[in-house]
Symmetry: C3
């Protein structure tokens, strides 16, 4: 039974070193200027676009990631992704999908027809001899589909095809391959999206905050208080500590090797982190701490992995995909390897009746609110300079520096992207109609 | 029966010249810089303000055109138009109409009373001896009312009365006067708003796009695809071509004579434009093309005329009246000469049962969506530099240059105009109440 | 019976001097530049925060004044006010109140715990040994609670405690203390919030206009027209004059003594102001003027006092508390001294059945509309330069100069304040949900 008290092997006597790590003075901040600049996200990275079951054969959908409008179409099972903006007058192809064959997608407005593979302007429906044909086109995006998820490599228009890295470079580290380097005695190796028979189940929804705020909340160890009244905690009779703080220089390990994911691992539920059970000043004391244990890591471009959560043999992944500078698509995905039909059926039943309502919603809904609560403070870009951090924020500081060293580009809002002009009349009209701005294209309905 | 295949007299062997017309390089763009600057519209022009039946005797209404707030009042049948902004504290007179006699309109707030003819501050209701009286006033606007429509000359405050041109200079060319110069063998001369017994029927509504985007959509020949699934097309068993392209140097004629409308005529359904019936690359072929024929022209400040549409002896006019930089009032007006009561009754019946639902709504609703779909791309003013045009865009290029040469002024948003500050709290509060920003003043209701 | 025609003792023959007072040329404007700069209000002043009955024992509420987010908590009857923004990650403490004892308030997110008296960071719930503890804190605000109202001294972070003036310096002058200096023969001395047994009854609500626009409307004598159709006027058969204008140099007295309120007194219903009964130009004449008489004064930072209104022995106070640059909290408060239970009960009955519906709503609702109607004109800050004032605007000119001389600071929107970024996604999402931006914090509800 894994829901036991955490193992603690040594007691820290000093937090001097982790304390120095948390310094957030001007010098430290200058080490993560790129992170502070990345309000629209890091570009030239892999991001989840849709769950596989959200894009049926021949379906066309439009989304926006890092300010880039992207149209997806599935043909004979394969998913293609292109810039969702006609070169002619800038309308989104996905607004009213029109496809004449399996090789192309046409613009519904003037018939500009683009090759799904290359993005080339192959023809114009009612103007087949125009000189512009074959001289221009739209950017295409590499697509990978694994275990029920469609990933897109969101790139700048001039990012070379040959430089597109494998998806695995932008996914969490895997087990048991990493078990030697990142051992944890308290649970079996976490599964991975890339495992054979891996099954993903989850949701994605739009949050109204900057993606960095959201991401930092994801791996933040110090906000246990927020979750104390969650049903999943109370129904399991978990008793959470008041907090948890780093007590060792190696409380966090970073990994930045060539040819692999770049990220950090937090050695939670080891003796490198100490649970806080008492606050004498407040006269508050927690007895009989008894909760799930887990470990979190985060890799570029902002992918959380929570091992051993919400149950043994399951892993929770999270993405905080930038849509604009103040909205992100929040992905909460559970992965389990189901080798048999029986395992799959049991997993799905438990997902539906327990994990989705109590973990993905009940537990993580609190995080959604917390991220929004921070947004006003960080919205004008100066929050990073004024926040007052403490030693438990060592994770955020390390992450910001690591991201600044390892990102592949800083996104700028593309012309015409949703949310680059926030108070446009269309947007306000849609709001009048009760349609909040979000992730997907509103299709034209006549 | 007019719904026949179009007549084509010659076959173009080269589109070299019209091809050169469509060039949209930096040099060409510099020729229409004024057009690119006119996001709030061209000022010192005649625009439709209201249908006659929207302003009863003694009624007061407030509207906004080119960022200028205008109040209209009808007295003894005559319509007066003044700036809808009190000189004192800037409130709109139309918000709570107050009139003490037939010569003036008073501000409901402090009683400033303006002469309807001159705009002069004639008196202040409760302060009749103040020195300010007779020393100041508000701008007045010339008004013409013809065939059921009220037109206003929207001018800058210092535009001289004596320079106000006749309304006819800002209306489409007339027939049969122009039949010799602009002959078309396929239909009878189009009627005009200015004809005796001309009757206008139509609608106006607010679109969320820049007026230029809207106007260019109006005379755009290359978006036939958008209308293919319209009920009016299908119910008439029309078979539309895939497209239509210019095949002659004289595909478009411009007219810019002193003392008349400035505009362009597109010689559709002549041999200067070729219907495209096949796209070999896509394997698409249209057989038995059989649709209505028509001809379009556009004159300053953006007035479309569609001859022979939606029926013989009828003409469709359209205006795309700038309200703000991202909203326009879309006017769709059908004009027919009805010499007898019987003709009028028949016309009205057909308008109500066919033209309004199938043409003004069904057919043109597609255009509303298309204009909105372009707006995000052009909203920041750089879309004009990045669009990639083709030879069918010759019309837009000629129009942009013509407008740049012939406009009478570039509007700047007036202080206090609706939409000059888009995210004001009032606006957002109104949106919360479900009131989308638009063309008319919301009257104060207590 | 006080509802008589006003007494007029002398007839002015010249308004030369008051006329010169109203000049609003560039020189005059330069004398109130600080006022023009105060779009977010004057800071370092006392403002009403809540009615006493809006903050029960142990209740926590968040509000915003002058762009400053403030959290209030009542402990053992005493009200504490602190900056409503955690030093750590900037969230509002009031969004999800968490208090472990009577001396502190804790942040619900990471447990930062602040002393209610000093604002000191006393501890962090789950991180009690962090070095940041006792080295930082949040600003506290002085609180006074009198006669059913809670006042807060809204200050800049570095405004010294010892410089906080008494509340009485930011409240209207009192009677009978001031009766000798400010005599008025037509009614008994007005009561005051500070009187023994004074009872306040009233409402507060958010208006969508700048606070200065609102305040100037409050003491504006020249907008009688707006109220002519109010039920309270008609039901009392009052006959209002067309206007009222200053006819004496001493129409307005200012008071700016050290150690007291700074403001102006308008000597209404004396011979220094003349009611206008006829406008010959318009052929309008009022006979039998018969209305309530009253006198208005206004003191810093924008507190209106209407003596003898809406009834003898009652006074109406109004505040126009800046929330943002385009919203204000409109406070309408009636004060009466009720020495006995019977008096209190009678007052409350009359408040509920007459004063609240007919005065605070019916009569003053007109003012709310008028203020909103001005807002667009003044929103970009240039309205002050373009307005054309008349002699009845002498009050506004004097007020603007007086405020410019006597304010204690010009507010700047604090980082993260509601409305400093107006079109944030959260705000737009809330609007989609029908929640207009306003005065109080939306509590997190899970």
């Amino acid at each position: 039974m894994s829901d036991n008290a955490p193992v603690r092997r040594r007691k820290a006597t000093s937090n001097q070193d982790s304390g120095s790590l948390r310094k957030n003075d001007q010098k430290t901040q200058s080490q993560y200027q790129p992170y502070k600049d990345a309000e629209w996200g890091f570009i030239n990275h892999w991001y989840p676009a849709l769950f596989s079951n959200e894009l049926a054969e021949d379906q066309v959908e439009g989304i926006q990631i890092c300010g880039v409008q992207i149209v997806l179409r599935r043909v004979d099972g394969k998913v293609f992704a292109l810039k969702d903006q006609c070169v002619h007058r800038g309308v989104r192809l996905s607004a009213k999908p029109m496809c004449f064959n399996k090789e192309t997608i046409s613009c519904w407005y003037h018939g500009f027809t683009f090759n799904l593979e290359s993005g080339n302007l192959d023809t114009i429906v009612g103007n087949p001899d125009d000189k512009l044909i074959d001289t221009t086109g739209i950017t295409t995006y590499a697509v990978e589909e694994i275990s029920g998820m469609i990933f897109v490599f969101v790139r700048e228009d001039d990012f070379p095809d040959e430089d597109v890295p494998p998806l695995s470079h932008d996914l969490p580290i895997r087990f048991p391959e990493s078990s030697e380097e990142y051992p944890h005695p308290l649970w079996p190796p976490a599964p991975s999206l890339m495992d054979e028979n891996a099954i993903s189940r989850g949701i994605h929804r739009t949050g109204e905050a900057n993606w960095r705020i959201a991401c930092e909340n994801g791996f933040d160890n110090a906000h246990i208080l927020v979750h104390q009244d969650n049903t999943i905690v109370q129904s399991n009779n978990w008793v959470l500590p008041l907090g948890i703080r780093p007590v060792s220089d190696d409380c966090i390990t970073t990994f930045e090797e060539e040819g692999g994911p770049k990220g950090l691992m937090q050695w939670l539920f080891t003796d490198r982190w100490e649970p806080i059970l008492e606050n004498k000043k407040l006269g508050v004391k927690v007895a009989g701490v008894n909760s799930r244990f887990y470990r979190t890591s985060v890799v570029m471009p902002g992918v959380l992995m929570v091992e051993n959560w919400p149950e043994e043999h399951i892993v929770q992944y999270e993405w905080y995909v930038p849509i604009t500078d103040d909205t992100y698509e929040y992905w909460e995905v559970l992965v389990k390897v189901c080798a048999t039909e029986k395992e799959l059926k049991d997993y799905e039943y438990r997902y539906k009746t327990v994990f989705k309502p109590l973990a993905l919603h009940g537990f993580n809904d609190c995080d959604l609110y917390a991220r929004e609560a921070m947004q006003d403070y960080y919205a004008d870009g100066t929050g990073w300079d004024n926040e007052q951090l403490v030693d438990t924020d060592v994770s955020a500081i390390i992450w910001r520096k690591l991201a600044s060293r390892n990102h592949r580009g800083i996104a700028k809002p593309a012309k015409g992207s949703q949310g680059s002009i926030k108070s446009s009349s269309i947007r306000l009209r849609n709001i009048t109609d009760g349609k909040s701005p979000g992730y997907r294209v509103d299709k034209i309905e006549e």
